[in-house]
Symmetry: C2
Subunit: 216 residues, 2 copies
Amino acid sequence: MTAIITAFERSPDRGRGLARDMRVRWALEEVGQLYEVRFLSFRAMREPLHLSLQPFGQIPTFEEGDLALFESGAIVLHIAERHGGLLPGDANARSRAIAWMFAALNTMEPQIFDRSLATILERDQPWYEQRLQALESIIRKRLGDLSRRLGEADWLDGAFSAGDLLMVTVLRRLHGSGLLEEHPNLAAYVARGEARPAYRRAFAAQLAVFAAASAG
Amino acid sequence: MTAIITAFERSPDRGRGLARDMRVRWALEEVGQLYEVRFLSFRAMREPLHLSLQPFGQIPTFEEGDLALFESGAIVLHIAERHGGLLPGDANARSRAIAWMFAALNTMEPQIFDRSLATILERDQPWYEQRLQALESIIRKRLGDLSRRLGEADWLDGAFSAGDLLMVTVLRRLHGSGLLEEHPNLAAYVARGEARPAYRRAFAAQLAVFAAASAG
């Protein structure tokens, strides 16, 4: 069945694959499910039609038959549960992979996302340097913990899973900050994710949208 | 099977049920699973034994037979999948309930948690008022969206689910801020969660720990 997802008509990240539809595109590419994309302007995201699908007026959403879902983490988990390849078969290993999904979104992402936002919105504030240092101090602690746990392994817990998929999309937001490079095993981990054929297809697809919108 | 969870030896919230073990206790009480608690000092949370269970040195963890899990969201989902009462039987409704779990932790919690932290750690900083206003502006927008979606319903999507359980624990952190009271349906929603017998048992259990630690 072809899924329908929503994405920014013109992504504020200029096609760098940081918008949250990237996670869903990547998951769909990993499992080989066909999908179509409905593009939304910022205005359309606050209209009743979209709010009926996504109460907070965000992207992405996911529609498949009579199911409508929101929250990128929940969508990736739904795809992983319906198709092979993103969650282990063993029940305990499956629960642990899901723990890494939550760790990516609830333990790693908030400060990493705040840091991105601060570098855009608070750069001219008198407190900017101090705020950035406070955020980077928490991010460094978390990256240190994550690096220690990953060690020499390719992925966080056995084979590549939906937990790795979300973690890589979260860590990618640190590109250019220098923070990732302090842990060569984490930088290699992110590069390993970005080298997957499914990732590359998903990345190319979202970049093509931005390029077309900019040319148009 | 009796589960073993970890919690603060002396919770920094002084027994108000804001530490993340509260979610897990509540879920275990809802499904009627017995559990024991291992209490940790802040020092013990950074020792190798605990880091082997929880790479980021946080609480709670969850052990059951040969399964060890971390991340409160993943633990609640695991409990909900193994027992009845926290997820609908219908597959689509189940995916939607899980979407609310992610919405609670990834869309609602970050700024609500940051606001709590800022009122403690940043009160004397020159940016405090502006930072608080920025956080509350986002929180207000999200609460408005959530209030509109909830409407007159008791719970977010049909019967009480793990999505409501997590959302109530996240919104509770706004007690005392005045923000929840701007939406009477959300204040009533939180009160409805807090009135559940399973919630009350879980709350009493964590409060007893704090009271004993303070008396000792």
